[in-house]
C-alpha cells in the first residue's frame, strides 16, 4: 500500500475496490450457511479439477472395466460398479467435471443473454424495450424444458448443444431483473451528468450502468448454476446429453442406472451417488447465492 498522498487515481480506485471487497467478504463470512456452501463448493470443484491427477481416465473405458456387473460396494470399489463393471466412484468423480462445466457455462450464457437484453431494453426504451420485452415475455411463458428438448433433438448431440439448449431457454427471468435494476440506475443523477458531458450510449452503458448492475448479475449467476445443473441432468436423463461414454455426467449416470434397471436390481449404490451429488451441489450454490444476495442486493440490505 502506498501512502494516500502519493496514490494515483487508479491506485485509489483499486484501493476503494479492495476495501469494498473486504467489507463485502466480512458480511458474507458472517453467514454460516453461505460459508458452508462456499467450502463445500471449493472441495467439489477441487475434486473435479484434480480428477485426472487422482484417477486414471481409462477406467471409464468399458473395455478396461475390471469389476463385475453391478457389484456391491467393496474395498476395491467403494461405491460398487455399474452394469459394465466400471467403478461408480470414478464415474461420479468424472461426472462432476461434466455437470459442473455445463452448469457454469450454461449459467454464464443464460445470464449473459439476459443481461444484454435487459440493459438494452432499459437503456433504449420505447420500441426497442417494447419489442425486447415482448420476446422476453414469450420465452418466459414458454415451458423451458419443452423448448430445450426440441432444441437438443434437432441439433447434433454433444456438450455444446446441451449448453446452448439450457442457455437459450433460461435467460428471461434475469433479463427482467436486469432491466428493472438498469431502470433504477438510469434514473440517478450521475447518469444525467455523464450524458450532459457528452457520454454516448456505449460509454454510459459500459462505464456506468454495467458496473452498477454487475453485483446483481453475479448473484444471479451463482443461483443459476444450480438450476442449470438440474436442467443438464434432466436433458441427459432423457437421452439428450453427450452420448460419449467416456464423458459421463451425473444425469447420464442416472439415465444408465434407470435403463439398466438398477432400481429393480436393488443397486442403490448406482442410483444414489449421482443424485445426491446433484442435490448437494445445487444446495451449495443456493446457500452461496443466498448469502451473496444478502450482501450485494441493495434491496435486501436496506430492508
Amino acid at each position: 500500500m502506498t501512502s494516500p498522498r502519493a496514490a494515483s487515481p487508479r491506485a485509489l480506485a483499486w484501493r476503494r475496490r479492495g476495501d469494498a471487497f473486504a467489507a463485502g467478504w466480512r458480511q458474507f463470512a458472517r453467514q454460516r450457511s453461505g460459508l458452508f456452501g462456499l467450502g463445500l463448493l471449493l472441495v467439489i470443484v477441487a475434486l473435479a479439477v484434480l480428477a485426472p491427477v487422482l484417477t486414471d481416465r481409462e477406467g471409464l473405458n468399458v473395455i478396461n472395466a475390471t469389476g463385475g456387473p453391478l457389484e456391491a460396494p467393496s474395498g476395491e470399489f467403494p461405491l460398487g460398479t455399474d452394469r459394465q463393471g466400471r467403478s461408480v466412484l470414478l464415474l461420479t468423480l468424472w461426472g462432476a467435471r461434466m455437470s459442473l462445466t455445463v452448469g457454469f457455462v450454461a449459467a454464464l450464457l443464460s445470464i449473459g443473454i439476459g443481461t444484454i437484453i435487459g440493459i438494452l431494453a432499459a437503456h433504449y426504451g420505447r420500441w426497442v424495450s417494447a419489442g425486447l420485452m415482448r420476446i422476453t415475455d414469450f420465452f418466459l411463458v414458454l415451458p423451458s424444458l419443452v423448448l430445450a428438448i426440441a432444441l437438443s433433438t434437432v441439433l447434433n448431440p454433444g456438450i455444446g448443444t446441451v449448453i446452448l439448449a439450457i442457455g437459450i431457454t433460461s435467460w428471461p427471468p434475469s433479463a427482467r431483473l436486469v432491466r428493472a435494476q438498469t431502470l433504477t440506475i438510469e434514473a440517478r443523477p450521475y447518469i444525467e451528468r455523464s450524458r450532459a458531458l457528452g457520454g454516448g450510449h456505449l460509454h454510459v452503458i459500459t462505464k456506468h450502468v454495467l458496473p452498477a448492475v454487475l453485483p446483481l448479475v453475479f448473484v444471479n449467476t451463482t443461483l443459476a448454476v444450480g438450476s442449470a445443473i438440474v436442467a443438464e441432468s434432466t436433458l441427459s436423463f432423457l437421452g439428450l446429453g453427450d452420448p460419449d461414454p467416456m464423458r459421463p455426467s451425473w444425469g447420464s449416470m442416472l439415465r444408465s442406472a434407470w435403463l439398466d434397471s438398477a432400481v429393480i436390481a436393488g443397486a442403490w449404490w448406482y442410483l444414489l451417488p449421482p443424485g445426491i451429488a446433484i442435490a448437494i451441489v445445487v444446495l451449495a450454490f443456493t446457500m452461496c447465492g443466498r448469502a451473496l444476495e444478502s450482501v450485494l442486493n441493495p434491496r435486501l440490505r436496506e430492508g
Binding site: 427482467r176 445445487v282 444446495l283
Partner: protein, 341 residues
C-alpha cells in the same frame, strides 16, 4: 430453486394490470391478443425448429438407423421437403388450421389422433397432482406463516426447498426404489384387470400413486413459499388487529380474514406456473411409463419422430400459454381492487 421463485414474486407484483381508461373489455382484448401473438410465435417456432434448424430433417429422423434411398425419398415427399421453404410453411400452417399435424413416422397414425389418445391420462395425472399440491402448499404455507420462525416453519420451508432443488426424475427413481413391490411402477392399468368400471378405476388409482406423489413433491413447494410470503405481507395489516379486537378466536381471524386476502396471488400462480408442472409431468411420465403426453414426447425424441415432436411441442406450449392468459383474466375477476379501479 430460489431464482425461479424470484420471478414469481416479481410477476405477482406486476400482475395488477394497468388501468388507464378502457376498462374490462380493453384489458380482456389486450391479454387475449398477447396470448394469440404468443400462440402464433409457437407455431412459427415449431416450423423453424423442426423443419429449418435440423438442416436435413430426414437425416435427423433416420439418425442411427439404416435407411434405403426409397425410404428417404418417401419421407421427403411425405414431409413436403421437395418444395421451397415458404411453400412448406404455408402448407404447414394451412394443415395446422384444419387440425392436421401430419402423420407420425413411428406409429403410422395421424399425430392429432395420437395426441388425443394421450391427453386423458396426462390431464388425470397433472390435474390430481396439481389439486393435491395446491391444497398441501396452501395449508403448509398458511401454517408456517402464521407461526413465523417456529420450528414447524423452519422445517417445512427447508423441506420444500430441498424437494424443489432435487431433479424430478431422481425423486421418482428414489420413490420407486423405496417402495419396491408395493405399487406398480409402470403403465396405467394391468391388462388382466376386469373391464368393469370399478376395478378399472381402482387399478388406475393404484398405478397413479407413485407418479402423483412425485409430481406433488416437486410442485407443491412453490405454492407453499408464495402462500407463506403473501400471508406474511398481510400479517401486519390493520384489519387483523380490528378482527382480534372484536374478540375473534385466532383460528377465526386466520380463516375468515387473513387467508382469503393472501389466497389471491397464489390462486393465479397455479395457472401462471403450468409450464413448470408440464416439465415435471414429462419426466415423471417418462420414469413411470405413464401413457400421457410426456411419455409421448419422450418416445418421439427417442425415435426422432419429428412430426410427432412438433405436435407435442405445439400442444404443450400452447396449453401453457392459454393457462397464462386465463391466469391474467382470473386475477381480474378475483381481485376487487383491480376491478374497481
Amino acid at each position: 430453486m430460489s431464482d425461479i421463485l424470484t420471478p414469481t414474486e416479481e410477476a405477482l407484483a406486476e400482475a395488477p394490470p394497468p388501468t388507464r381508461g378502457g376498462g374490462a373489455l380493453r384489458y380482456l382484448l389486450t391479454k387475449a391478443g398477447g396470448g394469440l401473438v404468443s400462440l402464433v410465435l409457437v407455431i412459427v417456432l415449431g416450423f423453424l425448429l423442426f423443419r429449418v434448424l435440423p438442416g436435413d430433417p430426414v437425416l435427423t429422423m433416420t439418425r442411427g438407423r439404416p435407411a434405403s434411398k426409397e425410404q428417404i425419398a418417401e419421407l421427403e415427399a411425405q414431409l413436403g421437403l421437395d418444395k421451397p421453404l415458404i411453400a412448406q410453411f404455408f402448407d404447414y400452417l394451412w394443415r395446422l388450421l384444419q387440425g392436421d399435424l401430419g402423420e407420425s413416422y413411428v406409429f403410422r397414425v395421424p399425430v392429432t389422433q395420437k395426441i388425443m389418445e394421450r391427453l386423458g391420462p396426462t390431464l388425470l395425472l397433472v390435474g390430481t397432482a396439481t389439486l393435491i399440491a395446491v391444497a398441501l402448499g396452501l395449508w403448509l404455507g398458511t401454517r408456517s406463516a402464521w407461526r413465523r420462525d417456529s420450528r414447524f416453519d423452519k422445517v417445512s420451508t427447508s423441506v420444500a426447498l430441498a424437494l424443489w432443488s432435487t431433479p424430478t426424475f431422481f425423486l421418482g427413481l428414489l420413490l420407486m426404489a423405496a417402495t419396491s413391490g408395493w405399487f406398480p411402477t409402470a403403465g396405467m392399468v394391468n391388462s388382466d384387470t376386469p373391464p368393469d368400471f370399478f376395478s378399472q378405476a381402482v387399478d388406475v388409482a393404484h398405478h397413479m400413486v407413485l407418479p402423483t406423489i412425485t409430481l406433488v413433491a416437486v410442485v407443491y413447494a412453490q405454492y407453499q413459499l408464495v402462500m407463506r410470503s403473501s400471508l406474511l405481507e398481510e400479517m401486519g395489516a390493520d384489519y387483523l388487529t380490528t378482527a382480534r379486537a372484536k374478540g375473534l378466536r385466532d383460528a377465526m381471524v386466520r380463516r375468515r380474514h387473513a387467508v382469503p386476502n393472501a389466497l389471491l396471488p397464489t390462486v393465479t400462480l397455479v395457472f401462471l406456473h403450468m409450464g413448470f408442472v408440464v416439465a415435471g409431468a414429462i419426466t415423471t411420465e417418462t420414469v413411470f411409463s405413464w401413457p400421457g403426453l410426456g411419455l409421448l414426447t419422450y418416445d418421439a425424441l427417442e425415435k426422432r419422430d419429428l412430426p410427432l415432436l412438433t405436435g407435442t411441442f405445439i400442444v404443450l406450449a400452447g396449453a401453457v400459454i392459454v393457462m397464462n392468459v386465463l391466469a391474467d383474466m382470473l386475477y381480474r375477476v378475483l381481485d376487487p381492487r383491480v376491478r374497481a379501479s
